[in-house]
């Protein structure tokens, strides 16, 4: 019988054929490897291009780029008008008000969302009645995938007028004019809408992590007489701690990069909210970094403005890259236990 007869119908068999050229596997490996290199190359190109465009702005300002001094809006206006051919380009830019706004909004939202999501995830995984759990889980997933512009729309139509009409008093407005104008678009609105956006994501990630804790560990603890809450808190939550770190980091990266939704509700003024103002601090308008890019994106064609906007993008790029690294490192302990959530 022809030795290869049974192979005639199998086009994929390769090991019985002489190696006249690259085997199938080698070709596949090269092809897929090339694909991987292209994608990695694109990411590298992303970093390189953004940094290259951002360099003039950083070079002119040095570390003062991150500091304060002067009105950031006026600086942006000067940068924009210097784009014509008559003037030398102006790059002076001190982004501290924008950075401060980003920090306050992001950390505020992540802090509130973290605490709430932790308890809500614990509730959802362990203590909710089964019928409620069956409803909650799809709802959390749905809310996590809602496009951010829809949250922004609801916030602009409901939250912002509520804050402007019911929470801000005339006295408060009079006390800060003419430096800034208090309206519903404020720090509070931005923090609330960002919290609502990232909480479902965090809940989903936390719940996944909590579910991957081996039931045996929890049952062992229960068998020793420890009550349900303590068991879940001390054993379950503690085991899944790396997941919490990873989820928080993921949510922080999302919150940092959320441009469109925040630009709709944060007030649109390059002002650093002043905590010394007490309660008014939450009603002050501001504009975080990502929203600044969106606000000035039409003037992208003016070279100095282009370099400045790319500098802001570079800061965002590096922050989220760093957060990705931290998130990856945080998940490692769980991999050691073999519990990949």
């Amino acid at each position: 019988m022809d030795r290869d007869a049974y192979l005639d119908h199998d086009p994929d068999a390769g090991f019985l054929e002489p190696d006249r050229r690259l085997s199938q596997d080698q070709r596949a490996e090269l092809g897929l490897g090339a694909l991987v290199c292209v994608v990695v190359g694109l990411l590298v190109a992303l970093f390189v291009f953004v940094l290259r465009e951002a360099w003039p702005s950083f070079a002119h300002n040095g570390l003062a780029w991150f500091g304060g001094g002067g009105s950031v809006d006026q600086q942006l206006q000067a940068i924009s008008t210097s784009g014509d051919l008559k003037h030398a380009p102006v790059y002076t830019f001190h982004a501290w008000p924008l950075i401060w706004s980003t920090i306050v909004i992001t950390i505020g939202a992540v802090a509130i969302a973290f605490v709430s999501s932790l308890f809500i995830a614990v509730f959802m995984v362990e203590f909710a009645p089964p019928w409620l759990r069956r409803i909650l889980e799809p709802v959390v997933r749905l809310l996590a995938s809602v496009p951010s512009v829809i949250y922004g729309l609801a916030a602009v139509l409901v939250l912002v007028p509520f804050i402007g009409n019911h929470l801000i008093t005339q006295n408060e407005k009079a006390s800060v004019t003419p430096t800034i104008q208090l309206s519903g678009s404020s720090l509070l609105a931005a923090i609330v809408v960002l919290t609502v956006m990232i909480a479902p994501i965090m809940i989903a990630v936390f719940a996944d992590g909590l579910r991957s804790v081996p039931r045996g560990w929890l049952e062992g603890s229960l068998a020793l007489g420890i009550n349900r809450w303590r068991t879940f808190w001390k054993v379950g939550v503690r085991t899944a701690r790396p997941v919490f770190v990873a989820g928080t980091v993921l949510a922080t990266a999302r919150a940092l990069g959320e441009a469109v939704m925040v630009s709709m509700v944060s007030g649109g003024v390059g002002f650093a909210p002043n905590p010394v103002d007490g309660l008014i601090f939450f009603f002050e308008p501001s504009r975080p970094l990502a929203a600044t890019i969106i606000a000035f994106t039409e003037e992208l064609s003016s070279p100095p403005m282009k370099h400045t906007l790319y500098a802001i993008a570079a800061v965002l790029l590096f922050s989220s890259a760093m957060l990705s690294v931290i998130g990856w490192a945080a998940k490692q302990p769980m991999r050691r236990y073999g519990l990949v959530p």
Binding site: Q77, D84, K86, H87, T177, P178, Q181, S183, E298, E299
Partner: protein, 261 residues
Amino acid sequence: MIPMMAVPASAGATTLFGSGSSAEQPILNVLFRAYNRLHASIRFNYLPDGGNAGVQDVQAGRRLFAVNTRPPLPSDSGTTYFKLFLDGLCVAVNPSNSLSGLTVAQTKNIFTGVATNWSQVGGSNLTTTIDPVGRNSSAGSYTFFQQAVLGGATQSSNVHPVTSDGLVATAVSKDSSGIGYVGLAHAGKGSGVKALTLNGVSCSQANIKNETYPLFRYIWGVLPTGHASRTVETFFDWVRTSKQAGQIIQRAGAVPAFNKK
């Protein structure tokens, strides 16, 4: 990006890329469409990034033409300005404000932060803090307002800067303590705001045409000096002088300046 309503495509079409004033964008869009109906192969793509930004685009060769709402400045070297039609910048308040008119000096006080409460402004029934709304720095309207009203000073930091005239009108219509400056097209009936008289003269087409209204202005078409596109020049001529364009401009709320009747 503020969406642009460019005109439909057809075979062998040339697209003319322009940019500039967003205050005039509604009028320009109608003009673009009407012109395209006359010359099916010519289409427009207009980016409303503000009059000042538009001029920079033309200087740098990024755009073929621009539309600006302020007269030429020395920094606009390399470009030539053509008068297209007339428009006015109205100062508008919320209809619930009983104020009917201001002087230019009072307007300046409001927008430079000297006057902060409506009770400091005679003629208003309100006693709340003034909420001024204005344009952002890339807007020709802002530069024009700066020159004509503020005397060159910058807008006070409590003026809420928005990116288009439509947004100014929206903000003022929703805030009873609001005040803002918009082009005539955005201050008419149905816009939700009340236009004030300035120095006793009301913001109307007639007063703009006979130049008695203080804040009248020409809308300028901007082309690069020397190597302008013939197609765009022909378009500008059509806008300036043709009867059809004049009707469109009139209907849109601006004032035809040189058009045949």
